[in-house]
Symmetry: C2
Subunit: 429 residues, 2 copies
C-alpha cells in the first residue's frame, strides 16, 4: 500500500457494489490524478467471506463490521447494503467514528437523513448520497449547490425505472398491467415481489429526499401521498391517448400556500411535455425555480454502472477534500413548513366510470360533481357493452381538491346507475 492512499471501505457487495469495485479498478489511475492520491479499498463487508468477489482479494473481505471501525487508515466508508437496518446503525457508527460516509441508500436517507446529517456535522465529516436518487443522474448535488439561489417551487419527477418501463410498454403496446409486470420481471427490471416499485414506496423515498433539498424542509416518506399503478388498465392508456396524454408514475412536490404537497401517483401528462417523452427505464427530474424556470435532468436511474458513477463522484469529492484539508461546509438549514394532507392537494382529474346505458346518468354524475364545485372539462362516452347494457364514461375535470374528489366519488359510487368507478387519476398541469 502506498503510504498516502485514501483508505476506503465498502459495506455490502451486491450488484451495485460489484459495479463500484469494477469502476474503482478501471478508473484507478485517473482517480489518483484527480484526487492527488490513490484510493485504496481496504475492507469490504459481506455476509459470506468464503465467496470470492471479482477484483477483491480475499483478505479484504470481512463479515465483521467492527473490522472497519478498527482500521484507522479507513477514511471513507461506502454503504451499499440497502434497506433500513442495519444500514442506518452502521452509517451512524461510521460518522460518529469521524469517517466520511457515501451511501446509495434512499430508504435510510429518506427516513433518517436529517438525523444522520446532524451526526455528520457534529463529527465534522460528510455524509453524501448522490446515488440515492436517480442513479447516475446528478440531482442531489445540483439541488444542494447549483440551484441554491432559487426559491424552488416544484419538483416533478419520474424516479422509478421499473414502473416507467412497465407504463411505457403499456402505452406503446396496449398491454395490461399483469402482462407488463411479467415482462419487466422476465427482464430483471422488476423484483419477484414488485410491491415497493408498483405501489410507489421506492419513489416516495426518493421524493422525500428531493423535497427536503428543494424546499429546505424535513419531510418523511410517510408525508408523501401514494397511489400505485396496479389498477391501471390498457384502456386507461387508450383513453388518455385519445385525450392527448400519456400516463406516468409522477413524483411531485410543490410549495402551495406556505406548505408542501407531495405525492407519487399515476398521472396523465400531456404528450408534448418533456416528461411525457421520458420512456423505458430512463428517469428524469424537473425542478422549477423562481430564477431558473424549469430545468430537467435525465438519464439512466438505476443499474450498477450509473449508480457507481454517482457513488464514486461522492467518493472523489470527499477524497479531494481530505487531500486539500477542506472541512465540511455547514449544512443548509431546514425550515418548518406544514405538510398538506392529500385531501388538500389540488389537481385536475381523469375519472373512468362504468354506468348503465340509460338516459340521465351523465346528468346525475355531473350534478354530483357540480355539488362539490368540481367543473367538468370533457366527457367521452367511450365504450358500450350492448349485452350488459353498460357504457363507459371518461370524465376529465378542472382543478379540485382531493377531499372534493373523494366526496364526489362516494356519491357517484352510491348511484344506482353506476356499475363501477373504474379508475381515478390525477392530470398534470
Amino acid at each position: 500500500m502506498p503510504l498516502d492512499a485514501v483508505g476506503v471501505a465498502m459495506l455490502g457487495a451486491g450488484n451495485v457494489g460489484a459495479g463500484v469495485i469494477a469502476a474503482l479498478r478501471a478508473g484507478h489511475e485517473r482517480y489518483a490524478v484527480h484526487i492527488g492520491r490513490p484510493l485504496l479499498l481496504r475492507r469490504v463487508l459481506v455476509r459470506d467471506t468464503a465467496r470470492a468477489r471479482d477484483g477483491v482479494e480475499a483478505s479484504v473481505l470481512t463479515s465483521h463490521f467492527e473490522d472497519i471501525l478498527a482500521d484507522p487508515a479507513i477514511e471513507v466508508v461506502i454503504e451499499l447494503m440497502g434497506g433500513e437496518h442495519p444500514a442506518r446503525e452502521y452509517i451512524e457508527a461510521v460518522l460518529a467514528s469521524g469517517r466520511h460516509v457515501v451511501t446509495a441508500n434512499k430508504e435510510v436517507m429518506a427516513k433518517h437523513g436529517a438525523a444522520l446529517l446532524a451526526v455528520a456535522a457534529a463529527h465534522n465529516v460528510r455524509l453524501l448520497y448522490e446515488a440515492a436518487v436517480g442513479g447516475g443522474i446528478p440531482i442531489i448535488s445540483p439541488l444542494s449547490r447549483d440551484l441554491l439561489a432559487n426559491d424552488v417551487t416544484a419538483v416533478t419527477a419520474i424516479i422509478n425505472g421499473t414502473t416507467n418501463y412497465m407504463l411505457t410498454g403499456m402505452s406503446q403496446t396496449g398491454t395490461d398491467y399483469a402482462v407488463a409486470l411479467a415482462e419487466a420481471q422476465r427482464l430483471g427490471y422488476a423484483e419477484p415481489d414488485p410491491t415497493a416499485d408498483v405501489e410507489g414506496t421506492d419513489a416516495s423515498y426518493k421524493l422525500a429526499i428531493l423535497c427536503g433539498l428543494a424546499f429546505h424542509v424535513a419531510i418523511s416518506p410517510d408525508d408523501v401521498a401514494k397511489q400505485g399503478i396496479t389498477r391501471l388498465a390498457a384502456r386507461d392508456f387508450k383513453y388518455a391517448d385519445a385525450l392527448g396524454y400519456t400516463i406516468k408514475l409522477l413524483a411531485t412536490g410543490r410549495l402551495v400556500d406556505g406548505g408542501v404537497v407531495a405525492s407519487v401517483q399515476p398521472t396523465l401528462i400531456a404528450k408534448d411535455e418533456p416528461l411525457a417523452k421520458v420512456d423505458g427505464v430512463l428517469n428524469a427530474i424537473q425542478i422549477e425555480g423562481d430564477l431558473v424556470g424549469r430545468v430537467q435532468f435525465q438519464g439512466r436511474g438505476a443499474g450498477p454502472a450509473p449508480t457507481a458513477s454517482a457513488v464514486l463522484a461522492d467518493v472523489l469529492d470527499v477524497a479531494r477534500d481530505i487531500v486539500a484539508g477542506r472541512r465540511p461546509a455547514e449544512a443548509v438549514e431546514h425550515r418548518k413548513l406544514p405538510i398538506h394532507p392529500p385531501g388538500m392537494h389540488r389537481s385536475r382529474y381523469y375519472m373512468r366510470v362504468t354506468v348503465q346505458d340509460q338516459p340521465g346518468v351523465l346528468a346525475a354524475i355531473a350534478g354530483i360533481l357540480g355539488g362539490q364545485a368540481i367543473s367538468i372539462a370533457s366527457v367521452l362516452q367511450v365504450e358500450t357493452d350492448d349485452d350488459a347494457r353498460t357504457a363507459e364514461l371518461v370524465i376529465t375535470t378542472h382543478h379540485a381538491t382531493g377531499a372534493a374528489r373523494d366526496a364526489a366519488l362516494a356519491e357517484i359510487r352510491a348511484l344506482d346507475v353506476v356499475v363501477e368507478v373504474g379508475n381515478v387519476l390525477a392530470m398534470a398541469g
Copy 2:
C-alpha cells in the same frame, strides 16, 4: 453594514447584472440563512455612474475599477461585462488580489480559462463560471464534480438559444433563414448583428469550455470546427423531415482515437433522439460517460434570471466556503491530447445537389463518392424543375471523413451535369 457581511462587487450592470441585483435583493434573507452571513453588494462598476440602477444606491456605483481593488471588505467579485477585454485583465487582477471571482464570461473562459484558473490556484482563491454555459442549467459543476468518476467520451449540446429558436421556427413553419432571423431579431432573441450566434462562434466558446472539463484537456475555441446556419434553406428541413430527421445546430465534442474532435455545425438528428425534441430557446447538454451512459441537462440557456441563478449559485458556494474557512480544492489536472483537424472528423452526411435532369448523373456522382470510399445510404430525387430541366438530389451517406467528403465534393462540383452543391450537412449517429 453588518460587520460580518460577505462583501461582493460586480463588474458590469447590463441586463444580466440587473437580473443578479434583483435576485440578490429578492433572496437576501434566504441567502443569509444559507451562507450564515448576509451578502452585501459594496460596489458596482459601470461606465456611466450618473444613470440610476434599480436597487443600487448611487454611492455603490463607480466607474473606476481601482475602487474595487481598494476595498478590503470585498471578497467576491462578479464579472458580468462580457467580451474579452478588459474583462480578462480585470478578472486576473481581482484573482491576483486574493479575491474570488464568479463570471458568466464564456469568451474569456474559453480563451483564457486555463491561465486564469492557474492564477486563481496560485492565489488560493476560486474562479467559478457556471453561468458561462447553458444559462441556468447546471453543467459546469456537474461536469467538474458529479460526473468526475466517468471517462467521458462525448458531449453533444444545443447551447445557443438564438439559433435553436430560429431552427425550430424553420422546422415547424417552413420559413427560410432570412425570415427566421428577422423574427428572432424582432423578439430580441437575435442581436442586430447576429454573426456570433448564426456562425457558431458563441457555441464554439461554450463547447471549448465543456470539452475542457469533460475530457480534461486544454482546448481553444479555434480548435472547434465551425459551420454556421446561414445557408440552411426551408427545403433542407423538408427533406430532413422526409428522412425522419430534424436539423439542429449541434455542438459536439468526442474522444476519438486518443484525440479530441470538436465541431459546431447544423446537423441532421433523428426525430426520436432526446436532443431533437429540444425546441425554441431551450438549451440541452448531453454527456456520455463510461459509467453513467447518457445523461441530459435541459433548460433555459439565457436570460437575466436563469443566468442570475447560475451566478448566484457560484456566489453562494464561494461565500459558504469563506464562512466555513474552506480552502479551494486543487484543480483537476489537464492532460495533453491531440486535437483532430476537421478533415479527420468522421460523420454521416446529407448532401443536397442540383443537377441537370438527364440520364447518368446519379451514376457519375455515385462513382465519385465510391472513389472516395463513401458509401451511399439513401438517395432521394426530390424536385424537378421542368423549365430549367434540373432536378434536386438528396443523398445521405454512411460514415466518412471530412477530408473524403471535401475531396468528393470538389469532384462533384466539377461535373458538367452538376448545377450546384446546395448544402452539405453532418448527420448525428
